[in-house]
């Protein structure tokens, strides 16, 4: 892995514009430090970025401090547009906003190359996809420190740069790379391009006049392995089918065989690198980035109920409270020797506006009132809801009630704060009939959508025994009912709605746990005869 990391750096130094950059995933430790030394060995100067950077440092802008001290406009140059290798420390903590800006800079060429140092420990702590997409390489450097090897060779980089323009690319190379991407399930068109550029840089590095199979192998391993979403079928048997189907029609003579053989070789090289469990990382599509407008955000420097201003620095993302700033500056005017009609303001006078924004929460109870649930523990569920209601009341949450039974779901109570009404409807809730779980979830999702447009932060609490047996189209079909429910559950996750699943069954059901995982929410079997404990647990989950 170490050699591969160094190779990636070398290729980046040879062709920074074409390759974009690399993600280096390494925890703090000797290996990471050693790798930093490699970066220092590169010919370009280093620029440091960190995830909480403001726009002015990034894009440049007016240097307010200087401007005020000198009394004339002083501009400051941003990091973007400076020449050098940018290093983003703690890339896994980079938010969508910064990622979008960096992606923009990578696209227009004002930032290249970018090395994202990813220190994530958990699989879901990772560099934002918008950024990873635009960086050619991904190197996992969580290796033993004894594996640390050579530093990149600067002299070779220089000569390779000179030779880069004269490297030829054969038509077969394009086809090989595209075919490879197709086999690995890589849809992005940036991937084959990166591989091509990397292969060319690799060829230049080794003094080849055209891109050779070795170059392609090395480049594919570096650029394509981590982007794979499917494993190609293992073509171990020596049958003609084993060659990728795409090249079959190109030509039928010996050339075809050669390309097929090359494809296989390259594919093997890529597969050799695929770490175990890599594909698992991709299956749940990462965590869904929730648009920050989703609701429950509390402190904001843009909108909401105004709070007292605080001293601070203008960063381009917050707003100056002009009146407060002037008020702070006022007492000092004589001391500062301000002339008549002019006010002298120093940066320490700046007061920044602060807002507090709090959206109401809406708890949507989706209650399974089917026969099977009624048989088991509907009464207990009712008790649990009542306890939750009391909790909701003290937090001034809104609540609404949806029940599903027979073949439809119905909204028993639109969002309200009236506790009494909710209790009444709940008590009158009859049980019996099939379990149209998907229909209930759709109803809850629709309500969540509506609530969000009203500025509320919805949260779905699903109470069911999980024996879904009525599909969305009303037919009694167990398998279809279950798959329908799963599909809606995924949509709930996409919509970014919080969801909690409470299992009413006599025994915890695997299906429901999976369903909760699909919704990216909490799953909890309803503890027996201890509604209070459950309500406590749910409250804790909501608070967290």
């Amino acid at each position: 892995m170490w050699d591969r990391g160094v190779l990636a750096l070398t290729l980046l130094a040879i062709d920074p514009a074409g390759l974009g950059g690399a993600i280096i995933r390494a925890r703090c430790g000797p290996v990471r430090d050693a790798f930093r030394e490699c970066l220092d060995a590169l010919p370009q100067p280093l620029l440091k970025l960190h995830p909480t950077m403001d726009d002015e440092t990034l894009f440049g802008g007016i240097d307010l401090t200087e401007t005020l001290t000198l009394g004339r406009l002083t501009m400051r140059k941003g990091i973007l547009g400076r020449n050098g290798t940018a290093i983003l420390a703690m890339a896994e903590r980079c938010d969508a906003t910064l990622a979008a800006r960096l992606a923009m800079a990578l696209d227009d060429g004002s930032l290249q190359p970018l090395i994202a140092m990813d220190e994530g420990a958990e699989p879901d702590e990772r560099t934002p996809a918008a950024l990873g997409e635009r960086l050619a390489f991904y190197i996992d450097l969580n290796i033993a420190s004894s594996d640390v090897g050579l530093l990149p060779d600067t002299a070779m980089i220089e000569s390779a740069r000179a030779g880069l323009a004269s490297v030829d690319v054969l038509t077969e190379t394009y086809e090989t790379l595209v075919g490879l991407c197709a086999q690995l399930g890589i849809n992005s068109q940036r991937a084959p391009l990166f591989a091509l550029r990397a292969a060319r840089a690799h060829a230049a590095l080794h003094g080849h006049t055209s891109v050779t199979p070795t170059d392609i192998e090395a480049a594919s391993a570096l650029c394509l392995a981590h982007r794979a979403t499917v494993l190609p079928p293992q073509p171990q048997t020596e049958e003609p089918d084993a060659t990728p189907p795409d090249t079959n029609e190109q030509d039928t003579d010996g050339g075809n065989m050669e390309i097929g053989a090359l494809d296989d070789r390259v594919l093997e090289a890529v597969l050799a690198i695929l770490p175990d469990g890599l594909l698992d990382q991709f299956k749940p599509k990462g965590s869904i980035s929730k648009g920050s407008g989703a609701g429950a955000k509390n402190k904001s420097n843009r909108r909401g109920r105004p709070k007292p201003s605080r001293p601070g620095r203008l960063s381009g993302r917050n707003r100056l409270d002009l009146i407060a700033t002037l008020r702070t500056a006022a007492p000092w005017q004589k001391l500062r020797g301000a002339s008549k009609g002019r006010i002298k303001v120093t940066p320490s006078d700046f007061r920044i506006k602060q807002y507090e924004e709090k959206s109401d929460r809406l708890l949507i109870f989706a209650v399974d009132a089917s026969g099977s649930a009624a048989m088991s523990r509907l009464a207990e569920a009712k008790g649990a809801i009542e306890l939750l209601l009391a909790d909701a009341y003290s937090r001034r949450d809104h609540v609404s009630l949806i029940s599903f039974r027979g073949d439809t779901a119905e909204v028993l109570l639109p969002p309200t704060r009236s506790l009494v009404q909710t209790k009444k409807r709940l008590a009158a809730l009859p049980g019996g009939g099939g379990t149209p779980l998907a229909a209930g979830l759709i109803e809850a999702l629709t309500m969540a959508h509506q609530a969000r447009t009203h500025g509320m932060a919805p949260c779905i609490v699903l109470l069911t025994d999980g024996r879904a047996n009525v599909a969305l189209d009303g037919t009694a079909n167990r398998a279809k009912a279950a798959s329908d429910a799963e599909q809606i559950a995924r949509q709930i996750r996409t919509s970014g709605t919080e969801a909690i699943t409470l299992d009413l069954g006599n025994r915890p059901a695997k299906f429901l746990a999976d369903l909760a995982a699909n919704m990216d929410g909490l799953y909890m079997p309803l503890p027996r005869a201890d509604a209070r404990k459950m309500s406590g647990a749910v409250s804790a989950a909501l608070e967290g």
């Binding site: 401007t67 005020l68 969508a96 906003t97 923009m104 394009y174 992005s188 068109q189 869904i288």
Partner: protein, 334 residues
């Protein structure tokens, strides 16, 4: 300065390209929404569009790109009255942008250092008479979305803050792109986009090979590549300019109107904006094709992109709304 990748060199993606050309012919169609995975050439197409569009005449130095001297807002304090040719503005609106940056705000530096109340125009001013491009539009914060909706509706940006009271025209074509897996778009904003297209990577190997070949040529052999494609771009630009002229004289038959109304009714599209957009898009398409009247072919071609985002959500229809539209189009138009 390197020119962006040429528009006509983009492989495939015909629907996306067509939708962009149609809004260039008739900006009143509204914006274009491009949904698709990463790496399908969304950003490339938008940036290419800027270079493709015909230049506009504007008063030199005008912050809102005014065409005539009397349109220049008085706060701009321009010295010249000369006008010059400039490329159609295409302005990027990045995620996490502040309200101040979008609408413009009090020029704080001037206020503090010179005691002057001056207005610093924002992105909306810059985008006037051009395009406003929002990448990852579905992740945009709500309060910025609200602001955009308001301005897109009225065509005017009103700034009332910090003792400033300023208004300036802000007519632009919204182009949004995003990845639907990462979040949905509010229906209100969805409705503001005139056209909506779904893009995917090309399906055939030959096309994909073409994509990387061209891109590679663009990066390694820039000069020759641009010479080769500039001519093609000029051709499309000429077509757009001709269509802009032809659209005024284009006939709209009652039969076409009936078809459009029937189509929207059958689809249950919300509101009347669907009909209007479909009409405008069909007209622009007819002009682009150099026909003299709107026919069924034109309606059929643009119906999916004009209507697919206006249908009521069907949570279980994975096939996408485009298929539903096509189905109904076949029913109605035969």
């Amino acid at each position: 300065m390197k020119q962006p990748f040429p528009f006509s060199a983009i492989v495939g993606q015909e629907e996306m390209k067509l939708s962009m050309i149609l809004t260039a012919i008739d900006p009143s169609i509204g914006g274009v929404l491009v949904f698709g995975d990463r790496g399908t050439g969304k950003s490339t197409a938008v940036r290419a569009l800027a270079a493709l569009l015909p230049q506009i005449t504007k008063i030199s130095g005008c912050p809102v790109n005014s065409e005539k001297v009397e349109d220049v807002p008085d706060w701009a304090k321009l010295e010249t009255k000369k006008s010059s040719l400039a490329p159609t503005p295409v302005v990027d609106l990045p995620l996490g942008v502040t309200e101040d940056r979008v609408t413009g705000a009090l020029d704080i530096e001037k206020a503090l250092s010179q005691g002057e109340k001056a207005f610093q125009p924002g992105l909306l001013a810059k985008a006037n008479r051009g395009y406003l491009y929002i990448d990852e539009v579905n992740l945009l914060e709500d309060h910025i979305v609200d602001l955009l909706l308001d301005v897109a509706q009225s065509g005017e940006n009103v700034v009332e803050r910090e003792g400033l009271s300023i208004r300036h025209p802000a007519r632009f074509v919204l182009v949004g792109s995003g990845n639907p897996e990462e979040g949905e778009l509010r229906p209100q904003l969805l409705d503001r986009f005139g056209l909506s297209v779904d893009v995917a990577s090309p399906k055939t190997v030959a096309e994909r090979v073409d994509v990387i070949k061209r891109r590679d040529a663009f990066e390694t052999d820039y000069e020759a590549f641009m010479v080769r494609w500039k001519a093609e771009d000029a051709l499309v630009r000429g077509q757009i300019e001709t269509a802009r002229g032809a659209i005024k004289t284009l006939k709209t038959t009652d039969a076409a109107l009936t078809d459009i109304a029937e189509l929207c009714l059958k689809l249950g599209a919300d509101g009347l904006r669907g009909e209007l957009t479909l009409l405008k898009a069909a007209r622009a398409f007819a002009a682009y094709r150099e026909d003299t009247a709107i026919g069924r072919d034109h309606i059929r071609a643009v119906a999916p992109m004009a209507l697919r985002h206006r249908l009521r959500r069907d949570p279980l229809d994975d096939a996408g709304s485009g298929v539903r539209v096509t189905r109904v189009v076949e029913d109605v138009l035969g």
